[in-house]
Symmetry: C2
Subunit: 202 residues, 2 copies
DNA sequence: GACCGATTGACACTCAGTGCCAGAGAGGCT
DNA sequence: AGCCTCTCTGGCACTGAGTGTCAATCGGTC
Protein backbone atom coordinates (compact mmCIF):
# COMPACT_ATOMS: atom_id res chain seq x y z
CA UNK A 1 0.00 0.00 0.00
CA UNK A 2 1.66 3.20 -1.13
CA UNK A 3 -0.47 5.50 0.99
CA UNK A 4 -0.48 3.47 4.19
CA UNK A 5 2.70 1.42 4.62
CA UNK A 6 0.97 -0.94 7.02
CA UNK A 7 -0.06 1.39 9.79
CA UNK A 8 -0.84 0.11 13.24
CA UNK A 9 -4.13 -1.71 13.30
CA UNK A 10 -5.77 0.63 15.77
CA UNK A 11 -4.82 3.61 13.69
CA UNK A 12 -6.82 2.13 10.85
CA UNK A 13 -9.73 1.01 12.99
CA UNK A 14 -9.77 4.40 14.62
CA UNK A 15 -10.07 6.00 11.21
CA UNK A 16 -12.82 3.56 10.29
CA UNK A 17 -14.77 4.28 13.46
CA UNK A 18 -14.31 8.01 12.92
CA UNK A 19 -15.76 7.78 9.42
CA UNK A 20 -18.58 5.51 10.53
CA UNK A 21 -19.62 7.81 13.38
CA UNK A 22 -19.50 10.81 11.07
CA UNK A 23 -21.62 9.01 8.52
CA UNK A 24 -24.19 7.99 11.10
CA UNK A 25 -24.30 11.45 12.63
CA UNK A 26 -24.69 13.21 9.29
CA UNK A 27 -27.64 11.08 8.34
CA UNK A 28 -29.24 11.86 11.69
CA UNK A 29 -28.59 15.57 11.16
CA UNK A 30 -30.12 15.56 7.70
CA UNK A 31 -33.07 13.59 8.99
CA UNK A 32 -34.04 15.51 12.14
CA UNK A 33 -31.84 18.59 12.00
CA UNK A 34 -28.57 19.46 13.65
CA UNK A 35 -29.80 20.99 16.86
CA UNK A 36 -32.50 18.40 17.38
CA UNK A 37 -29.89 15.64 17.38
CA UNK A 38 -28.13 15.14 20.70
CA UNK A 39 -24.76 13.53 21.18
CA UNK A 40 -26.45 10.72 23.06
CA UNK A 41 -28.53 10.06 19.95
CA UNK A 42 -25.39 9.88 17.82
CA UNK A 43 -23.49 7.70 20.26
CA UNK A 44 -26.41 5.31 20.58
CA UNK A 45 -26.92 5.13 16.81
CA UNK A 46 -23.21 4.56 16.23
CA UNK A 47 -22.97 1.97 18.97
CA UNK A 48 -20.35 3.71 21.05
CA UNK A 49 -20.45 5.38 24.43
CA UNK A 50 -21.06 9.05 24.87
CA UNK A 51 -17.57 9.40 26.29
CA UNK A 52 -15.98 7.74 23.32
CA UNK A 53 -17.74 10.10 20.98
CA UNK A 54 -15.77 12.96 22.45
CA UNK A 55 -12.56 11.06 21.81
CA UNK A 56 -13.31 11.19 18.10
CA UNK A 57 -14.87 14.64 17.84
CA UNK A 58 -14.15 17.57 20.06
CA UNK A 59 -17.55 19.11 19.46
CA UNK A 60 -20.75 18.25 17.68
CA UNK A 61 -19.95 20.88 15.06
CA UNK A 62 -16.69 19.11 14.22
CA UNK A 63 -18.65 16.29 12.64
CA UNK A 64 -19.89 18.67 9.98
CA UNK A 65 -16.88 20.96 9.80
CA UNK A 66 -14.01 18.68 10.71
CA UNK A 67 -12.91 18.31 7.11
CA UNK A 68 -12.51 22.03 6.73
CA UNK A 69 -9.31 22.13 8.75
CA UNK A 70 -7.67 19.56 6.50
CA UNK A 71 -9.05 21.34 3.46
CA UNK A 72 -7.32 24.55 4.52
CA UNK A 73 -4.02 22.75 4.40
CA UNK A 74 -4.76 21.50 0.89
CA UNK A 75 -5.60 25.00 -0.24
CA UNK A 76 -2.35 26.27 1.20
CA UNK A 77 -0.41 23.66 -0.74
CA UNK A 78 -2.28 24.51 -3.91
CA UNK A 79 -1.66 28.20 -3.34
CA UNK A 80 2.07 27.69 -2.96
CA UNK A 81 2.11 25.69 -6.15
CA UNK A 82 0.55 28.53 -8.16
CA UNK A 83 2.97 30.10 -10.65
CA UNK A 84 4.72 33.23 -9.43
CA UNK A 85 3.26 35.16 -12.36
CA UNK A 86 -0.19 35.10 -10.80
CA UNK A 87 -1.01 38.03 -8.55
CA UNK A 88 -2.41 37.54 -5.06
CA UNK A 89 -6.08 37.51 -6.07
CA UNK A 90 -5.69 35.25 -9.05
CA UNK A 91 -3.54 32.82 -7.13
CA UNK A 92 -6.02 32.66 -4.26
CA UNK A 93 -9.01 32.16 -6.51
CA UNK A 94 -7.26 29.51 -8.54
CA UNK A 95 -6.06 27.73 -5.44
CA UNK A 96 -9.61 27.63 -4.12
CA UNK A 97 -10.97 26.46 -7.45
CA UNK A 98 -8.43 23.70 -7.92
CA UNK A 99 -8.63 22.23 -4.44
CA UNK A 100 -10.81 19.15 -4.67
CA UNK A 101 -14.07 19.38 -2.75
CA UNK A 102 -15.20 16.45 -0.62
CA UNK A 103 -17.07 14.26 -3.07
CA UNK A 104 -20.78 14.30 -2.39
CA UNK A 105 -23.68 14.43 -4.77
CA UNK A 106 -25.07 17.90 -5.35
CA UNK A 107 -28.34 17.28 -3.52
CA UNK A 108 -26.51 16.29 -0.35
CA UNK A 109 -24.10 19.19 -0.62
CA UNK A 110 -27.01 21.57 -0.92
CA UNK A 111 -28.74 20.00 2.06
CA UNK A 112 -25.60 20.33 4.14
CA UNK A 113 -25.13 23.93 3.02
CA UNK A 114 -28.66 24.79 4.04
CA UNK A 115 -28.01 23.25 7.43
CA UNK A 116 -24.75 25.13 7.70
CA UNK A 117 -26.14 28.53 6.84
CA UNK A 118 -29.29 27.92 8.82
CA UNK A 119 -27.77 26.77 12.11
CA UNK A 120 -26.19 29.57 14.16
CA UNK A 121 -23.66 27.43 16.00
CA UNK A 122 -22.54 25.81 12.76
CA UNK A 123 -22.33 29.14 11.01
CA UNK A 124 -20.20 30.51 13.82
CA UNK A 125 -17.83 27.57 13.71
CA UNK A 126 -17.56 27.77 9.98
CA UNK A 127 -16.54 31.41 10.26
CA UNK A 128 -13.91 30.39 12.78
CA UNK A 129 -12.57 27.83 10.33
CA UNK A 130 -12.25 30.60 7.81
CA UNK A 131 -10.10 32.46 10.30
CA UNK A 132 -7.86 29.40 10.47
CA UNK A 133 -7.61 29.30 6.70
CA UNK A 134 -6.77 32.96 6.81
CA UNK A 135 -3.83 32.40 9.13
CA UNK A 136 -2.69 29.53 6.91
CA UNK A 137 -2.85 31.40 3.63
CA UNK A 138 -1.67 34.84 4.65
CA UNK A 139 2.09 34.09 4.76
CA UNK A 140 2.14 32.97 1.13
CA UNK A 141 0.17 36.05 0.05
CA UNK A 142 2.59 38.26 1.94
CA UNK A 143 5.35 36.61 -0.03
CA UNK A 144 3.56 37.43 -3.28
CA UNK A 145 3.18 41.01 -2.12
CA UNK A 146 6.92 41.25 -1.59
CA UNK A 147 6.68 41.32 2.18
CA UNK A 148 8.34 39.03 4.68
CA UNK A 149 5.94 36.11 5.34
CA UNK A 150 5.98 36.75 9.07
CA UNK A 151 5.71 40.53 8.90
CA UNK A 152 2.64 41.13 11.05
CA UNK A 153 3.01 44.84 10.65
CA UNK A 154 1.68 44.85 7.12
CA UNK A 155 -2.01 44.02 7.10
CA UNK A 156 -2.52 44.14 3.34
CA UNK A 157 -2.16 40.40 2.88
CA UNK A 158 -4.52 39.75 5.80
CA UNK A 159 -7.09 42.03 4.22
CA UNK A 160 -6.86 40.39 0.81
CA UNK A 161 -7.08 36.83 2.12
CA UNK A 162 -9.92 37.72 4.45
CA UNK A 163 -11.89 39.40 1.68
CA UNK A 164 -11.44 36.52 -0.74
CA UNK A 165 -12.74 34.14 1.90
CA UNK A 166 -15.57 36.55 2.62
CA UNK A 167 -16.47 36.53 -1.07
CA UNK A 168 -16.41 32.75 -1.01
CA UNK A 169 -18.76 32.83 1.93
CA UNK A 170 -21.14 35.34 0.37
CA UNK A 171 -21.15 33.33 -2.84
CA UNK A 172 -21.79 30.14 -0.91
CA UNK A 173 -24.74 31.71 0.81
CA UNK A 174 -26.16 32.98 -2.48
CA UNK A 175 -25.61 29.56 -4.01
CA UNK A 176 -27.51 27.96 -1.14
CA UNK A 177 -30.31 30.53 -1.34
CA UNK A 178 -30.70 29.82 -5.03
CA UNK A 179 -30.91 26.06 -4.35
CA UNK A 180 -27.69 25.55 -6.25
CA UNK A 181 -29.19 26.73 -9.49
CA UNK A 182 -26.19 28.93 -10.28
CA UNK A 183 -22.56 27.96 -10.58
CA UNK A 184 -20.71 28.60 -7.35
CA UNK A 185 -17.64 29.53 -9.31
CA UNK A 186 -19.47 32.22 -11.24
CA UNK A 187 -20.95 33.57 -8.04
CA UNK A 188 -17.53 33.84 -6.45
CA UNK A 189 -16.20 35.69 -9.48
CA UNK A 190 -19.19 38.03 -9.45
CA UNK A 191 -18.60 38.80 -5.79
CA UNK A 192 -14.90 39.45 -6.30
CA UNK A 193 -15.61 41.61 -9.32
CA UNK A 194 -18.09 43.68 -7.32
CA UNK A 195 -15.52 44.21 -4.60
CA UNK A 196 -12.62 45.02 -6.88
CA UNK A 197 -14.60 47.29 -9.14
CA UNK A 198 -13.85 45.43 -12.34
CA UNK A 199 -14.08 41.91 -13.70
CA UNK A 200 -11.47 39.61 -12.23
CA UNK A 201 -9.47 37.70 -14.79
CA UNK A 202 -9.15 34.08 -13.95
CA UNK B 1 -37.85 64.79 30.15
CA UNK B 2 -37.66 65.08 26.38
CA UNK B 3 -36.13 61.67 25.85
CA UNK B 4 -38.24 59.69 28.29
CA UNK B 5 -41.75 61.08 28.65
CA UNK B 6 -42.11 59.49 32.06
CA UNK B 7 -41.65 55.83 31.27
CA UNK B 8 -43.00 53.17 33.54
CA UNK B 9 -40.98 52.84 36.70
CA UNK B 10 -39.92 49.28 36.06
CA UNK B 11 -38.67 50.15 32.61
CA UNK B 12 -36.21 52.55 34.18
CA UNK B 13 -35.15 50.28 37.01
CA UNK B 14 -34.77 47.47 34.56
CA UNK B 15 -32.40 49.60 32.50
CA UNK B 16 -30.49 50.53 35.64
CA UNK B 17 -30.12 46.91 36.71
CA UNK B 18 -29.04 45.94 33.21
CA UNK B 19 -26.30 48.56 33.21
CA UNK B 20 -25.20 47.67 36.72
CA UNK B 21 -24.94 43.96 35.97
CA UNK B 22 -23.01 44.69 32.78
CA UNK B 23 -20.62 46.95 34.68
CA UNK B 24 -20.04 44.36 37.38
CA UNK B 25 -19.56 41.56 34.87
CA UNK B 26 -17.12 43.52 32.73
CA UNK B 27 -14.91 44.29 35.68
CA UNK B 28 -14.90 40.60 36.59
CA UNK B 29 -14.02 39.69 33.01
CA UNK B 30 -11.15 42.14 32.87
CA UNK B 31 -9.95 40.94 36.23
CA UNK B 32 -10.00 37.15 35.84
CA UNK B 33 -10.77 36.68 32.17
CA UNK B 34 -13.97 35.94 30.31
CA UNK B 35 -13.96 32.16 30.36
CA UNK B 36 -12.80 31.95 33.95
CA UNK B 37 -15.81 33.96 35.08
CA UNK B 38 -18.97 31.90 35.50
CA UNK B 39 -22.49 33.25 35.43
CA UNK B 40 -22.87 32.32 39.07
CA UNK B 41 -19.92 34.58 39.83
CA UNK B 42 -21.56 37.45 38.00
CA UNK B 43 -24.96 36.92 39.56
CA UNK B 44 -23.47 36.74 43.04
CA UNK B 45 -21.35 39.85 42.49
CA UNK B 46 -24.31 41.76 41.11
CA UNK B 47 -26.61 40.63 43.87
CA UNK B 48 -29.20 38.95 41.69
CA UNK B 49 -30.15 35.34 41.17
CA UNK B 50 -28.68 33.23 38.45
CA UNK B 51 -32.14 32.94 36.92
CA UNK B 52 -32.61 36.69 36.81
CA UNK B 53 -29.31 37.12 35.04
CA UNK B 54 -30.71 35.30 32.06
CA UNK B 55 -33.65 37.68 32.01
CA UNK B 56 -31.26 40.53 31.32
CA UNK B 57 -28.77 38.77 29.05
CA UNK B 58 -29.47 35.89 26.78
CA UNK B 59 -25.89 34.65 26.91
CA UNK B 60 -22.69 35.50 28.68
CA UNK B 61 -21.30 36.88 25.43
CA UNK B 62 -24.14 39.37 25.21
CA UNK B 63 -22.69 41.30 28.12
CA UNK B 64 -19.68 42.16 26.03
CA UNK B 65 -21.34 42.30 22.64
CA UNK B 66 -24.85 43.42 23.45
CA UNK B 67 -24.18 46.97 22.35
CA UNK B 68 -23.15 45.85 18.90
CA UNK B 69 -26.71 45.10 17.83
CA UNK B 70 -27.82 48.62 18.68
CA UNK B 71 -24.71 50.01 17.04
CA UNK B 72 -25.61 48.29 13.79
CA UNK B 73 -28.85 50.20 13.73
CA UNK B 74 -26.99 53.47 14.26
CA UNK B 75 -24.66 52.68 11.39
CA UNK B 76 -27.62 51.95 9.15
CA UNK B 77 -29.16 55.33 9.96
CA UNK B 78 -25.85 57.05 9.33
CA UNK B 79 -25.45 55.20 6.06
CA UNK B 80 -28.87 56.27 4.83
CA UNK B 81 -28.04 59.86 5.71
CA UNK B 82 -24.92 59.85 3.55
CA UNK B 83 -25.23 62.04 0.45
CA UNK B 84 -26.24 60.24 -2.72
CA UNK B 85 -23.06 61.43 -4.41
CA UNK B 86 -20.95 59.03 -2.33
CA UNK B 87 -20.41 55.62 -3.88
CA UNK B 88 -21.05 52.44 -1.94
CA UNK B 89 -17.57 52.14 -0.44
CA UNK B 90 -17.21 55.74 0.53
CA UNK B 91 -20.65 55.85 2.07
CA UNK B 92 -20.01 52.70 4.09
CA UNK B 93 -16.64 53.87 5.35
CA UNK B 94 -17.98 57.28 6.27
CA UNK B 95 -20.98 55.79 7.99
CA UNK B 96 -18.70 53.59 10.07
CA UNK B 97 -16.41 56.47 10.85
CA UNK B 98 -19.15 58.86 11.90
CA UNK B 99 -21.08 56.47 14.10
CA UNK B 100 -20.14 57.28 17.69
CA UNK B 101 -18.28 54.52 19.50
CA UNK B 102 -19.28 53.61 23.03
CA UNK B 103 -17.28 56.00 25.17
CA UNK B 104 -14.53 54.23 27.04
CA UNK B 105 -11.00 55.25 27.71
CA UNK B 106 -8.47 53.83 25.28
CA UNK B 107 -6.83 51.52 27.78
CA UNK B 108 -10.14 49.83 28.57
CA UNK B 109 -11.07 49.59 24.90
CA UNK B 110 -7.78 47.90 24.17
CA UNK B 111 -8.25 45.50 27.05
CA UNK B 112 -11.71 44.58 25.82
CA UNK B 113 -10.43 44.17 22.27
CA UNK B 114 -7.73 41.81 23.44
CA UNK B 115 -10.32 39.80 25.29
CA UNK B 116 -12.55 39.79 22.24
CA UNK B 117 -9.91 38.64 19.79
CA UNK B 118 -8.44 36.21 22.27
CA UNK B 119 -11.60 34.40 23.35
CA UNK B 120 -12.97 31.99 20.74
CA UNK B 121 -16.59 32.13 21.85
CA UNK B 122 -16.52 35.93 21.89
CA UNK B 123 -14.83 36.07 18.53
CA UNK B 124 -17.47 33.79 17.08
CA UNK B 125 -20.31 35.88 18.45
CA UNK B 126 -18.71 39.04 17.21
CA UNK B 127 -18.53 37.59 13.71
CA UNK B 128 -22.21 36.73 13.99
CA UNK B 129 -22.97 40.32 14.90
CA UNK B 130 -21.16 41.38 11.78
CA UNK B 131 -23.52 39.15 9.83
CA UNK B 132 -26.42 41.02 11.41
CA UNK B 133 -24.89 44.33 10.43
CA UNK B 134 -24.47 42.95 6.95
CA UNK B 135 -28.16 42.16 6.64
CA UNK B 136 -28.96 45.61 7.98
CA UNK B 137 -26.71 47.56 5.64
CA UNK B 138 -27.06 45.60 2.43
CA UNK B 139 -30.46 47.02 1.34
CA UNK B 140 -29.15 50.58 1.37
CA UNK B 141 -26.05 49.56 -0.60
CA UNK B 142 -28.22 47.78 -3.12
CA UNK B 143 -30.09 51.04 -3.53
CA UNK B 144 -26.83 52.86 -4.19
CA UNK B 145 -25.93 50.24 -6.76
CA UNK B 146 -29.17 50.86 -8.58
CA UNK B 147 -30.73 47.57 -7.58
CA UNK B 148 -34.02 46.97 -5.80
CA UNK B 149 -33.26 46.90 -2.04
CA UNK B 150 -34.85 43.47 -1.68
CA UNK B 151 -33.33 41.91 -4.77
CA UNK B 152 -31.63 38.88 -3.31
CA UNK B 153 -30.56 37.72 -6.72
CA UNK B 154 -27.81 40.31 -6.99
CA UNK B 155 -25.03 39.51 -4.58
CA UNK B 156 -22.80 42.47 -5.38
CA UNK B 157 -24.07 44.56 -2.48
CA UNK B 158 -23.70 41.63 -0.12
CA UNK B 159 -20.11 41.19 -1.23
CA UNK B 160 -19.23 44.84 -0.80
CA UNK B 161 -20.79 45.18 2.64
CA UNK B 162 -19.26 41.91 3.80
CA UNK B 163 -15.80 42.93 2.62
CA UNK B 164 -15.96 46.36 4.24
CA UNK B 165 -16.87 44.72 7.52
CA UNK B 166 -14.12 42.19 6.98
CA UNK B 167 -11.65 45.03 6.49
CA UNK B 168 -12.93 46.60 9.69
CA UNK B 169 -12.33 43.34 11.46
CA UNK B 170 -8.85 42.84 10.05
CA UNK B 171 -7.98 46.41 10.96
CA UNK B 172 -9.38 45.92 14.45
CA UNK B 173 -7.23 42.87 14.92
CA UNK B 174 -4.13 44.66 13.69
CA UNK B 175 -4.95 47.58 15.96
CA UNK B 176 -5.23 45.22 18.91
CA UNK B 177 -2.01 43.41 18.00
CA UNK B 178 -0.19 46.72 17.86
CA UNK B 179 -1.51 47.66 21.31
CA UNK B 180 -3.47 50.51 19.79
CA UNK B 181 -0.34 52.28 18.66
CA UNK B 182 -1.74 52.96 15.19
CA UNK B 183 -4.90 54.79 14.25
CA UNK B 184 -7.74 52.37 13.65
CA UNK B 185 -9.06 54.62 10.93
CA UNK B 186 -5.78 54.53 9.02
CA UNK B 187 -5.64 50.77 9.37
CA UNK B 188 -9.12 50.41 7.93
CA UNK B 189 -8.20 52.60 4.99
CA UNK B 190 -5.01 50.64 4.41
CA UNK B 191 -6.96 47.39 4.40
CA UNK B 192 -9.56 48.72 1.99
CA UNK B 193 -6.87 50.14 -0.28
CA UNK B 194 -5.12 46.78 -0.36
CA UNK B 195 -8.33 45.07 -1.35
CA UNK B 196 -9.40 47.57 -3.96
CA UNK B 197 -5.99 47.90 -5.52
CA UNK B 198 -5.75 51.65 -5.11
CA UNK B 199 -6.09 54.22 -2.35
CA UNK B 200 -9.69 54.78 -1.32
CA UNK B 201 -10.74 58.40 -1.26
CA UNK B 202 -12.57 59.34 1.86
C1' DG C 1 2.44 -16.21 28.62
C1' DA C 2 3.73 -11.59 30.25
C1' DC C 3 4.19 -6.82 29.47
C1' DC C 4 3.06 -2.21 27.27
C1' DG C 5 0.32 1.16 25.29
C1' DA C 6 -3.91 2.80 23.42
C1' DT C 7 -8.91 2.40 23.71
C1' DT C 8 -13.07 1.90 26.00
C1' DG C 9 -17.23 2.57 28.95
C1' DA C 10 -18.99 4.13 33.27
C1' DC C 11 -19.47 7.56 36.72
C1' DA C 12 -19.31 12.06 38.43
C1' DC C 13 -18.76 16.74 37.70
C1' DT C 14 -18.98 21.77 35.80
C1' DC C 15 -21.22 25.14 33.27
C1' DA C 16 -24.59 27.31 30.03
C1' DG C 17 -29.21 27.82 29.19
C1' DT C 18 -34.51 26.82 29.72
C1' DG C 19 -39.17 25.73 31.73
C1' DC C 20 -42.09 26.09 35.49
C1' DC C 21 -44.13 27.94 39.53
C1' DA C 22 -45.28 30.44 43.44
C1' DG C 23 -44.55 34.85 45.81
C1' DA C 24 -43.86 39.92 46.09
C1' DG C 25 -44.67 44.83 44.39
C1' DA C 26 -46.41 48.42 41.56
C1' DG C 27 -50.24 50.43 39.35
C1' DG C 28 -54.95 50.81 38.00
C1' DC C 29 -59.98 50.38 38.92
C1' DT C 30 -64.14 50.60 41.81
C1' DA D 1 -59.30 50.61 51.26
C1' DG D 2 -59.83 46.32 48.66
C1' DC D 3 -59.22 43.91 44.49
C1' DC D 4 -57.13 42.67 40.18
C1' DT D 5 -53.52 42.28 37.05
C1' DC D 6 -49.17 42.60 35.27
C1' DT D 7 -44.37 42.18 35.73
C1' DC D 8 -40.26 40.95 38.06
C1' DT D 9 -38.06 37.76 41.01
C1' DG D 10 -35.87 33.67 43.08
C1' DG D 11 -35.81 28.76 43.56
C1' DC D 12 -35.93 24.26 41.70
C1' DA D 13 -35.37 20.88 38.36
C1' DC D 14 -33.98 19.65 33.96
C1' DT D 15 -31.38 19.13 29.39
C1' DG D 16 -27.26 19.12 26.85
C1' DA D 17 -22.34 19.97 25.93
C1' DG D 18 -17.96 19.02 27.40
C1' DT D 19 -14.11 17.24 30.83
C1' DG D 20 -11.48 14.38 34.40
C1' DT D 21 -10.77 10.04 36.31
C1' DC D 22 -10.35 5.12 36.70
C1' DA D 23 -10.56 0.39 36.13
C1' DA D 24 -11.14 -3.00 32.45
C1' DT D 25 -9.92 -4.54 27.91
C1' DC D 26 -7.67 -5.56 23.66
C1' DG D 27 -4.00 -5.49 20.05
C1' DG D 28 0.85 -6.08 19.44
C1' DT D 29 5.52 -7.31 21.02
C1' DC D 30 9.09 -9.93 23.32
Amino acid sequence: MPTTPDQKLWARTRQAVHAEVARTAMSLFLERGFEATTIDDIAAAAGISRRSFFRYFGTKEDIVLGDLAARGELIRKELEARPATEDAWTALLNALRHTPRPGQDDATTLQISKMLYGTPSLRARSLEKHLQWQALLTPEIRRRLGVAPDDEHDLRADAIVACVLTCLDVAGEAWTRSDGSQSLEDLVLTAVAAVRGSAADA
